[in-house]
Chain length 378, copies 2
């Protein structure tokens, strides 16, 4: 009897791979099978979301994710480009009267369809548009990094408290299965206690005129935008807060992209339990997107670790390297539904404003360490 | 017609692997084919080697490597264990009169069969036994790290000059094809200029009574013994000398293995061209043995990178990950033959004493950075 193709593939990979593939793919296979047969249930209650800032993240990731949301639907847009907004409104069934420009932003208050505002603007605008949304009585999901300074983060947190509304930072990796599995393995010490985390995040940035390369809009360079993934990974894997930070930055002289912000910042973290983290971030090197958690008995890693799709997990135990496949979920649908659920059930989000503030304080410490050449105690 | 098994395996791996396997395995395949048909030439002139210190490295790696050497043969032993030495002498054809103990070490001078002495002793003994061998008129290959202090390294270099003999440090990775290919790819900028190097080396050390865990014999902990591989990799890949060093060390309180030396040291390097390196070393985490070179257009990595055998290379270019197979060579045979050839041809070795001294000065800077919490300029 011919062997099924999937099995053949897996077995062949076993022979070729450095170690052995996990039998632990069972979970992923079961999920895929269930997915193929399952017809989605009709939706229950969904909260209404307004998307603020219709850039490529909104167009390519966030809007399509509503199709996979159980508790969230898109009901309004805020954009400075009426043509673009109207086109997207037709595609996503947003009524024309629910398209706002930035001048009309505060009128969101009067739109009772809107429960939550998702701020997808350049970093420097996060604080203002978050606070105005909160004052308009809306809950807010704010993209990362939360703001450009700890003071702005604090003002956002204060505004949420004053308004009695939820504020969540869009750390989507906390809401998807691969990173959650890494956290579980670390916390349960599946391969013994964690000793070291190595994380690398960056890409070669293009268009030198984009807002990410403007100091006043972005707040900083690679560390703010992409290094934050390495920082987050080290923090959520350990579940601890760093007590010391060391860092080095580098910017290629004369590179027109880096007139205002740094090209690269590499940093080290020390956690109270003794875990050390060694992280890189760069706008100058070719795409890196990985972290490895090294324990006393092996290691586990994701590469890619934080892409929107296609995450891969490898686990080394003894002399064998396994690949673990998990059922996947749209990251944006997962995080939006989390906030909708928190609003409906009156719970605190997993990544509230305080979480964004903690990262921002650490990013400031990283910059100070790089600038002064000193290990900073935090 | 059934497909040959190798091809099937390779193709299946292609489907499973993150990118695509290189067609570049051709070189390795050709070499393997040639190897299967080739009868080795009768040896030309071989220099005579004395092995000083018959520990596990000598027994398991160095002595078997003579069978694969073209220019080196073993002719003498120095050991404090006469029974062990006699057994090994019978296996390797070393005459009983060419077995020395440490008291009789200087009598090597009178053994005209011995051209080169290979010092495979604990670190603290490297300087003394190297200098005495040089004074006895022998050339010396000394294991890494070269010594416990820069002053000792300098004394060894001076002794070699005074004696008019060669002194080489046993940085075997410089003599094997995978690391040489990494160097070539970096220097020729095959994937553009190098931006960042990430290197991790360490293992969970056993027996708490071993010399590697004694400060006076080992000179230090993970940084001296295994972190030196990360340091070397960053230096030989770039071909540059670091100008700045930052570091953090950690030792688990109460761990009986680490009463005298540090468990882990992680360090950052800045090179004059702007390349940054982020390195870890540990005696406390599970085996790590890898480095990745990240460029503007991709990355290339070895994992394992510095094991005695079984090195693996992956190359990412665009969206594809290739695996490159190279013909392999015994690392110890390669380095011993290199020194034999240098002696015969009057050339300087690729890794002379000065190379060991450079590493030792940098290791001291790493320790100073870890101790003071300051970036050290070197």
């Amino acid at each position: 009897m011919p062997r099924p193709k999937d099995d053949l593939t897996r077995r062949s990979f076993l022979r070729k791979a450095p170690g052995t593939l996990a039998a632990a793919q069972a979970l992923g296979a079961l999920a895929a099978k269930a997915g193929a047969q399952q017809v989605p249930e009709p939706p229950g209650k969904k909260l209404g979301w307004a998307i603020v800032g219709l850039g490529s993240l909104a167009i390519n990731q966030i809007l399509p994710a509503f199709a996979k949301s159980e508790k969230s639907r898109v009901v309004a847009f805020v954009s400075g480009h009426p043509d673009k907004a109207r086109k997207l409104a037709l595609r996503y069934g947003v009524p024309e009267k629910a398209i706002y420009d930035y001048q009309g932003y505060d009128a969101l208050k009067n739109n009772t369809e809107v429960d939550v505002v998702y701020v997808v603007l350049p970093n420097s605008m996060h604080a203002e548009y978050t606070i105005r949304a909160l004052k308009a009585g809306k809950h807010v999901l704010c993209e990362k990094p939360m703001a450009n300074t700890p003071a702005d983060c604090q003002a956002m947190i204060d505004a949420a408290k004053q308004a009695g509304r939820k504020l969540m930072v869009a750390y989507r990796c906390r809401y998807e299965p691969y990173n959650q599995e890494m956290i579980r393995m670390a916390r349960e010490q599946e391969l013994g206690p964690v000793k070291v985390i190595v994380a690398d995040h960056g890409f070669s940035i293009g268009d030198p005129t984009q807002w990410r390369l403007k100091k006043d809009m972005a707040g900083g360079g690679s560390m703010m935008d992409i290094g934050i993934y390495s920082l987050q990974a080290a923090r959520y894997v350990t579940g601890e807060e760093p007590v010391e930070v060391a860092a080095m930055s580098y910017t290629t002289p004369g590179d027109e992209r880096f007139k205002e912000v740094e090209e690269a910042t590499d940093f080290q973290l020390r956690f109270p339990s003794g875990v050390l983290a060694n992280c890189t971030s760069s706008y100058g090197y070719s795409g890196q997107n990985r972290y490895r958690v090294i324990t006393t008995k092996g290691w586990f890693e994701l590469e890619p670790a934080t892409s929107y799709t296609g995450l891969r997990m490898r686990v080394r135990r003894g002399n064998a390297i396994e690949e673990r496949s998990l059922s996947v979920r749209d990251h944006f649908a997962a995080e939006m539904d989390h906030l909708s659920e928190c609003v409906m059930d009156g719970k605190e989000p997993l990544t509230p404003g305080e979480e964004g503030l903690r990262d921002m304080k650490l990013i400031m410490a990283v910059y100070e360490a790089a600038k002064t050449g000193r290990t900073i105690k935090v």
